[in-house]
């Protein structure tokens, strides 16, 4: 019997082990595993319907099936500040890719933006820009470049 993660059909060439973009890195220590981390700008990555895309799509296996089967997180990494509206669009593009790619298992979905300095107002404005995934809206979480994302999922 294949696991939900095995059913995530993506080309191996777009899978990576490290999450880094524009000199911003996020720490993958203690994330649910096994996992697949898709770098969205690689050649064989699942195509976005528009030109907009996020940087990564994380799909990890839950060790506690009472909570969910998979953790799904589109990630956008910013080396400086960000526009909440633009980030939301990028993560929404990732959500659409996830909708096509991830099996219909019970998913815990968390859109995440990593940044290296943002104004308090930008953080609070994120609340106005939720990301839609499979019929529900999800608030974007924030993490600092260099910090782990395990607790965000």
């Amino acid at each position: 019997m294949t696991s939900p993660l095995d059913q995530v059909a993506v080309h191996p060439a777009c899978l990576v082990d490290e999450c880094e973009e524009r000199s911003c890195v996020v720490d993958l220590a203690d994330v649910p595993s096994p996992f697949k981390l898709i770098k969205m700008d690689l050649k064989h990555a699942p195509a976005s319907a528009t030109n907009v895309r996020c940087d990564f799509l994380f799909i990890g296996t839950s060790s506690d099936r009472t909570k969910c089967d998979l953790y799904v997180a589109p990630l956008e990494l910013k080396s400086s500040g960000f526009s909440p509206g633009s980030v939301s669009e990028q993560l929404a593009a990732g959500a659409k890719v996830a909708d096509r790619t991830v099996p219909r298992a019970r998913c815990r979905f968390t859109p995440i933006v990593a940044h290296d300095g943002a104004h308090r107002r930008q953080i609070n404005d994120l609340a106005k820009h939720p990301v839609r995934f499979r019929g529900s809206d999800y608030a974007i979480k924030v993490v600092r470049c260099g910090d782990p994302i395990a607790d965000m999922l």
């Binding site: 300095g117 308090r120 609340a127 939720p130 999800y138 979480k141």
Partner: protein, 504 residues
């Protein structure tokens, strides 16, 4: 070396003092201490207050007259120069002019060693620090630190160079005798600038006139050193005012506190069961200033202080929505009241909002006491203030700084820091373009503002202080508040996502 206008740079460095493991703080016209509770912000502020007390007008000056073998070498030429200088000073005092004069090098060479011979003044500084804290100085040595607390004050005043000569004082608190040393660069020109304190000058002249004995020469040069030191240490010799965090309580209870002190003072010494209650010096001085306001002369001062009066009125209009006033009893004891705008009668402060009690002393100080050149320390001005009022108050303080008053704040408020950040950022906009921006006349340049973060560290155990430069992306001086914002936001996002998550 690069030329620059007359300016001063004052740096206060401490090690193992109170909760502070180490701190080096450059005091700017608008200095902000920020950080978690119990990290030593108030300790540093009170220490600064004590140093002003020592170097300023209220300082005991014994010790500046330390004997010096060099004094005996006062030649006829030097004696004449000293005499001429002191007479010029006295004449300037008589005409109420300020004076700007360099000591001839042959006189300066005799005065520098006297300025450096300060160890006899160590107990006086120790007393002032103890008084301001209301505690023996030994108790201020950091518990997990060494066996002493070390304080260094460095003052640079220069008209000629960016890296001008620096005068420094090093004060060490130990379990036994405190130590004070001074370093005056041998090439540092000695200058007097300002209005002349007549008593010191007269004293020096009388000494010179009476005889030319070595002893008198020494005292004359010592008096000259006394005149030079306040200029050399710059702002640290200027009057300082401290508005403590518990000022609102004092505004309500000053009559009770004073009654208690007087009542117990009459029984002092008659038994251990009724010891005289103690107040820290900052609180006692605050109380004393309040009571002084019972003297009608302060009305005349307020009349003269047009700028301070304007700030007080702005605070009353824009924040308090009413006026703060003083009633005086028949014996000149003051009570303070608040009259809301358009009311016809006054309210005692105890019947007003906590914001009014908090800011009433600021109004009174600005109107009657604080003058350009003075230093005003305000602890936690955000207490009892709505964020909008915190922003308005910060902008008012910026205006006060621009008028020449130096301000030191301790704060826990992100609003204060953000308002300040906006005013610093505003200074980058060309003045001709500022008109359309709110607060266009309040801009502060980056070198006028210093924000210092007090952080608790494990190694060394205690707090460490570092400057936090303005972060343009975050639009603030990053003091850890944004991390709390993000934590709260993420908590909210996590809860919201669980609420929205599809059911089984």
């Amino acid at each position: 070396m690069a030329k620059r206008k007359d300016s001063e740079r004052i740096t206060l460095a401490v090690e193992d003092f109170g909760p502070i493991a180490e701190a080096t703080v450059e005091l700017r016209p608008f200095t902000v201490f920020v950080g978690a509770s119990n990290t030593g912000k108030s300790y540093l502020a009170i220490l600064l207050y004590a140093l002003h007390g020592f170097f300023g007008a209220r300082a005991p000056t014994t010790g500046w007259h330390a004997p010096s073998a060099d004094a005996a070498a006062l030649t006829e030429e030097s004696e004449k120069a000293v005499r001429t200088l002191l007479r010029q000073m006295l004449a300037a005092r008589g005409s109420k002019r300020s004076m700007d004069v360099d000591l001839p090098e042959h006189v300066a060479a005799l005065v520098r060693p006297i300025m450096e011979a300060v160890d006899d003044a160590a107990p006086a500084l120790d007393d002032e620090v103890a008084r301001c804290f209301g505690a023996k100085t030994q108790s201020l040595i950091r518990q997990s630190g060494g066996k002493s607390a070390r304080i260094a004050l460095r003052c640079e005043r220069s008209k000629v160079s960016v890296d001008g000569p620096e005068i420094s004082y090093h004060f060490t608190i130990t379990e036994s005798r405190p130590q004070l040393t001074a370093f005056i660069p041998p090439d540092m020109p000695l200058r007097f600038q300002g209005t002349v304190p007549v008593v010191t000058t007269m004293f020096a002249l009388m000494r010179l006139a009476s005889a030319s004995a070595d002893d008198n020469n020494r005292h004359s040069l010592g008096a000259l050193a006394d005149l030079i030191v306040p200029y050399a240490v710059g702002a640290v010799a200027r009057p300082i005012h401290y508005l403590p965090a518990d000022r609102a309580g004092v505004m309500h209870a000053h009559r009770v506190v004073v009654s208690s002190l007087i009542g117990r003072a009459s029984r002092a010494g008659f038994g251990a069961e009724s010891p005289l209650p103690t107040l820290s010096g900052v609180l006692a001085d605050f109380l004393e200033r309040l009571i002084d306001l019972g003297d009608a002369k302060y009305d005349a001062i307020a009349h003269k202080q047009a700028t301070g009066r304007r700030f007080a009125e702005r605070l009353e209009t824009n924040i308090l929505g009413g006026a703060i006033g003083t009633h005086r009893s028949a014996v000149g004891y003051p009570s303070f009241h608040y009259r809301p705008a358009e009311w016809k009668h006054d309210l005692p402060l105890m019947n007003t909002s906590s914001m009014v009690s908090e800011l009433a002393p600021v109004v009174l100080y600005l109107r009657h006491i604080v003058q350009p050149g003075d230093v005003l320390i305000i602890e936690e001005p955000e207490s009892h203030l709505h964020p909008a009022m915190q922003v308005e108050f910060t902008r008012l303080l910026a205006a006060v700084v621009r008028s020449g008053v130096r301000v030191v704040l301790t704060t826990h408020s992100e609003w204060v820091l953000e308002a300040l950040a906006n005013l610093v950022r505003l200074s980058e906009v060309d003045e001709s373009q500022r008109g359309e921006i709110s607060g266009d006349d309040l801009a502060l340049t980056p070198d006028q503002v210093g924000a210092w973060l007090f952080e608790q560290k494990r190694q060394p155990r205690g707090s460490v202080v570092k400057e936090i430069p303005l972060d343009i992306r975050r639009g603030t001086f990053p003091a850890g508040f944004s991390e709390i914002t993000e934590q709260l936001y993420n908590d909210w996002a996590g809860i919201a996502n669980r609420v929205r998550e599809p059911g089984e």
